[in-house]
Amino acid sequence: MSPRFARLRPLLIWLAALAGCVLVIVHTRFVADLSAFMPRTPDARQQMLIEQLRDGIIARLVMVGIEGGDAASRAALSRGLAAQLRADPAFLGVQNGEAQIEALDRAWYFDNRYLLSPAVTPGHFSSQGLHEAIGRSIENLSGNAGILLRKVLPRDPTGESLALIEQFAGSSQPHEVEGVWASRDGSRALLLVQTRADGSDTDAQAALLDTIRSRFAALPGQSADSRLVMSGTAVFSVASRERIQGDIHRLAAISTLLVVLLLLSVYRSLRLLLTGLLPVLSGIVAGIATVSLVFGNIHGLTLAFGSTLIGEAVDYAIYFFIQRAAGIDARSFWRTMWLGVASSLAGFTVLLCSGFPGLAQLGVYSMAGLVAAALTGRHVLPALTPETLRLADLSGLATRLDRLIDAARRLRPALIALVIAAAAWVAWHGDALWNRKLNALSTVTQAEQALDASMRGDLGAPDMRYIAALTAPDSEQALQAAEAVGKVLQQEVRAGRLGSFTSPAAILPSLRTQQTRQAALPDEATLRARLAEALADQPLRPERLEGFIADVARARQQPALKRSDLTGSASALAVDSLLVQRAHDVLVLMPLRAPAGQEELDTRALEAGLAAAGLKNVAVLDILDESTRLFSGYLNEARLLVGGGMLVIFLLLVVALRSLPRALRAVAPLACAVVLVTAGLLASGTSLTILHLIGLLLVVAIGRNYTLFFDAGSHTGTARQREQVQVSIVVANLTAVGSFGALAFSKVPVLAYLGCTVGPGALLAFIAAAILSRKHDADTH
């Protein structure tokens, strides 16, 4: 093998690997929904919650608002947009309150009242039952609704349609202006759009949202200030992804620029600069490709991590160049380097154990990225760099730095005192240290949340905080179960423990119930005889009720109602969202509302009540509580993992340095940095989220390189070499502080949390490492 080939071989392997990675990346799907930050092996309840967040109809609903112009033009635009979207098969349903659609729903409840009304029993149609029911209806005529009810009475004297309407009384309906749905103040026309694509398919959702926007933009009759607003899970996902991607681009540009400027001022060579960035780029490419291969997709937040990798991977090149220029023995240098990489890997390995795909992705990404960056630094950089490197003369800087570090050592007692005080202060916070709210990581802005809440309120959409959920093998059994649950819930409503609930069976009863109701209806002759008896002392003559007799006769014969009979109505949307067809079974969701004037529901008591009635497999979920608990579990796990990671790093150092005191000295600055950053975050009013924790792990991983090199510098080499090592650490530190510092200004909370933890943390780790470094070791050489 020629020496030339030996030199080229790593380059060729590297290029081939890069090409392979790029090939994988081209086929990678980028996701941004919250589900990656949900546990992988959840319990049944959490599974239900995640499914709803990811695939449920809730995730497929887009709330659309039209603002600007006058009410008439908004209504016209609403009709125009609805017509366009209804013609598009990508949308399953479009509701905007238009009369012909509402008429479908009204007709459903009126025409099918004898199959839908829970009041239909044999007793209800006995002479006595008819007497009471019709008597009530006549009494109702004296009430305020009398004028409206008198029209219905001849066909519905027993008041079934009224009973049906009352089932939905708890859920308020949207306001209507100019014949279409509008916000409460009338300033915004509203539409509810259901997409065919799953909520988790962010690409498809993004395309659909664009379709809605372009269809709207192309509508005639726009005013100068006509505009479209949208909200919903899909809108959030798409917006989050755009925001994350936008931030990645912007921040990557800023931190790259910072790093480039810094490196350029040190290297004074474009060639060195470009080669210096190779490990970083290789790391990012390898990281994305590996995550894609392992998980099948990559989360936007994992990707955002890319810019943070610059912080650690660029250090490899910096250490390599400066220390090579200083003539430090490559073997001793790489020994230190590999120790650093190994301990970082150990730190990130623990993330792989996480039950949360999001965290595991971060782990895989970081590990693959670091290994690739280190390998590139070890094998590719030497091939591209001259044996003797001539860097700009940094000796002036190095000497000044050395003196500065010397002076800093005098601050040791002050630092120790400060760290102890900070540690005590952090400990005093106890559990208040942690932020357990799920939305702490949400990329959704306050304004978007406010828009969502206002549109949701205006549309009367259930907030879905409380849900009774159950599964059944098929929809008939699911509906029967929903009816059984409904009976128990009805008692809870009467007892005042529950405000109201929504059941799919109220819109579409089970076949069995429909047949039972049909069987309860008397034949025509019997009905006539009973009516004559029932009306004997009423101011209503039986001959006025021919419509009723005809309707009952028809109801006895009519075929049972099916889901397909609902097509096109708003009720179809309601049934589909409450009766969810899944791969192997049917999921029933029954939203519950707390009684008026009460915020919370006692889910345990409801569950116990259901269990007592023999309905044991019904889960009563408090989504807020579940998600908080979910996140809390997530946080606890991350705490354990990050703690474990830090411990592994420490143990590795003990083994590698073969000395407990040296290892302790190596980790002391890291401990200082972690304590001080935590205290700083608390002082600025930030409680720690999972991302802060990951940030602390990164502080340890990055800071550990500083302490290792300080340690190496103090044990080997000449005073000049030690100075060069110190310069390389300063440069590495500044790049880390710069690239993470840029993250701190991100609009995406996740990135900002990382940035404001790692940026200051890296700086503090360096300062602490300098203050705690041992001069006498160096002097002995």
Binding site: G143, I147, L148, L153, P154, P539
Partner: protein, 200 residues
């Protein structure tokens, strides 16, 4: 054809009569009695309470359906009708929101804008009590009979959306006191509400 030659004469007479009426109005403003004046007087009433008896004459039934209770109005847009017999019921109108409470049922709140047929009923009473001429004239043509001591304000719906459910509303009273509200429905059914005002 016959009247044509007389037309200038009649127009002239009308002109004279108009002028006379005008000057009479100028001379004795208090005697002038137009919807505007009535509504202005009503607008001065910031609140009113009373009891009512309502009879609905419905062809379907052999005798009128009767109910009674209390009524209260607070300017500008709060109207509360509390039915005590035969079945307790509360109807509150506040702004555009209609709130209905019936014994043994969950309270219901609806937006008036979504139910023009309901709005036709409640808005005609409320706007009259509030003396809100604009709200009335937006939806009805107004005619006033009688004198300040005993007047009758007749509201005829302007638009078919409303006239489909209500053919005419007659509100009668004395001075700034509303005593009777009668609705006539397109199919001949009607409803009459007699109000007796409580002494403040």
């Amino acid at each position: 054809m016959k009247t044509r030659p007389l037309r200038p004469v009649r127009d002239g007479l009308r002109l004279v009569a108009g002028a006379l009426l005008c000057s009479a109005g100028l001379l004795a403003q208090a005697a002038e009695w137009t919807p505007a004046v009535l509504l202005e007087q009503l607008a001065k009433q910031k609140s009113a309470q009373g009891t009512f008896v309502e009879k609905k004459y419905i062809a379907l039934l052999d005798k009128p359906a009767e109910s009674s209770g209390t009524l209260s109005f607070t300017a500008p847009d709060k109207l509360e009708k509390r039915t005590l017999k035969p079945k307790p019921e509360l109807m509150k109108l506040d702004g555009n929101q209609l709130y209905i409470e019936q014994a043994g049922k969950a309270p219901m709140s609806i937006a008036l804008g979504s139910y023009p047929e309901v709005a036709a009923f409640v808005d005609s009473i409320r706007a009259t009590l509030a003396g809100d001429r604009k709200a009335l004239e937006d939806n009805f043509r107004l005619a006033l009979n009688g004198s300040a001591a005993q007047w009758k304000l007749i509201l005829s719906p302007r638009y078919s959306r409303m006239s489909d459910v209500i053919s005419r509303v007659e509100i009668s009273g004395s001075q700034a006191e509303v005593q009777k509200v009668a609705f006539e429905l397109p199919d001949g059914d009607r409803s009459e509400m007699l109000i007796s005002r409580s002494k403040p």
